[in-house]
Amino acid sequence: MTPDLPAILTRLHAALPTAAIAHLRNPSPSAQDSLLVAPESLVAVCQFLRNTADLDFDLLSNVTGVDWPEPAKADAVAVPPEGTTPPACGFLEVVYHLYSTSLRIGPLVLRTRTTDRAEQVHIPSVVAVYRSAEYQEREIFDLFGVRFTGHPDLRRILMWDEFLDHPMRKDYVAPDDYQYEPTPHDAVLEKTKKHYPARVEI
């Protein structure tokens, strides 16, 4: 059963008057709305959702990241359709999916956003509330570069420790170790032209 977001939002505002929480609409056919939570109130929100008896969100099933880069200059000229606002961008987003196993409610989608994509990439860790977040936050740190403050063991989990990049970011550039392919086309053909010059007819 999907959670009643307006009711939960009202209760959150009542319980945590200082927390910045907003109802984020999802215009896609899935219409899976979410709650946009400011990073500084994330842990308090999670604690409230877990510890309130008639909400009882006891399971954090999934934590993932989204990269929202600034659009390139060439893309920025596109005018958004009438009546819509262009999506906000220029930050990293962390998405949490909460379930209540006792009340069979879920997923409640929480989102939180960093200030930018370079320096201000800190999000408080929710490991103290949901232990299942530990490895997933490590993975997001590894692949997106979000720093989770308060995480007990924030190391890379998939890539090696010496690795510097964050491969799931949109602007990640993979190492250029192209190898000849027999039928190159599109982007691969461009790489082929760069690495293997055309045969010169003598």
Binding site: L158, E162, P167, P175, D177, Q179, A198, R199, V200
Partner: protein, 209 residues
């Protein structure tokens, strides 16, 4: 001195086998390949199936999977080799005693397969260790692995122990330990071992573009 094949056949019908030391040694090696027991991905499941009763790799003398590289002489690279795993695979290869052989099983071990353009997948284990037999497939069926094993047995049976074209393990000047790649800030360093593998140097057909 070569033996007259007809004479050898006649003797064989009498129960006397005549062969060379080379043939005897190669027969022994080919008939008791002990694979190293390790799997990297889904190909390993097919490798396990090949050893079980239905496909029965024991028929070819290769059922004794050894948990130690010191006791193994066949490395079946069964699955996706990630860049994080590649140094460990090369290290295991170095720890195996000569003569040693490598089967690259499946598309990933050969070339990176469907993950070739991924940031963390090695584009073929032949970049770091010499591969004797490549088995295509995703994953290859157990029959394909058995075929690869038989192909390797045929290859071993033809090995020369003396002369200029002798096998690597019979050559005192053969390569010793292969360099183990290091974890770099963006990729493995080096990205391949030039003594073992080099990028294919093909000229592109100008009319194709």
């Amino acid at each position: 001195m070569a033996i007259d094949p007809k004479l050898a056949e006649d003797l064989k019908s009498q129960g006397v086998h005549v062969t060379s030391f080379e043939g005897l040694i190669n027969w022994g090696r080919a008939s008791s390949l002990w694979p190293l027991q390790f799997g990297l991905a889904c190909c390993a499941i097919e490798m396990i199936a090949a050893t079980m009763a239905k496909y029965d790799m024991a028929r070819f003398g290769a059922e004794v999977f050894r948990p130690s590289p010191r006791q193994a002489d066949l490395m079946i690279v069964a699955g996706t080799v990630t860049k994080k795993m590649a140094p460990q695979v090369v290290r295991l290869y170095n720890q195996m005693a000569e003569p040693k052989y490598v089967i690259a099983m499946g598309a990933c071990a050969i070339s990176g397969g469907p993950f070739k353009d991924g940031y963390n997948v090695l584009k073929g284990i032949d970049r770091f260790i010499p591969v004797d037999v490549s088995i295509p497939g995703c994953p290859p069926r157990p029959e394909a692995l058995l075929h690869g094993l038989i192909t390797l047995r045929e290859k071993i049976a033809k090995e020369k122990l003396l002369g200029s074209n002798r096998a690597r393990h019979a050559d005192p000047k053969g390569p010793g330990d292969l360099p183990v790649p290091e974890f770099g800030p963006h990729d493995l360093e080096p990205t391949f071992n030039p003594d073992v593998w080099n990028p294919p140097c093909l000229t592109r057909d100008a009319s194709a573009s």
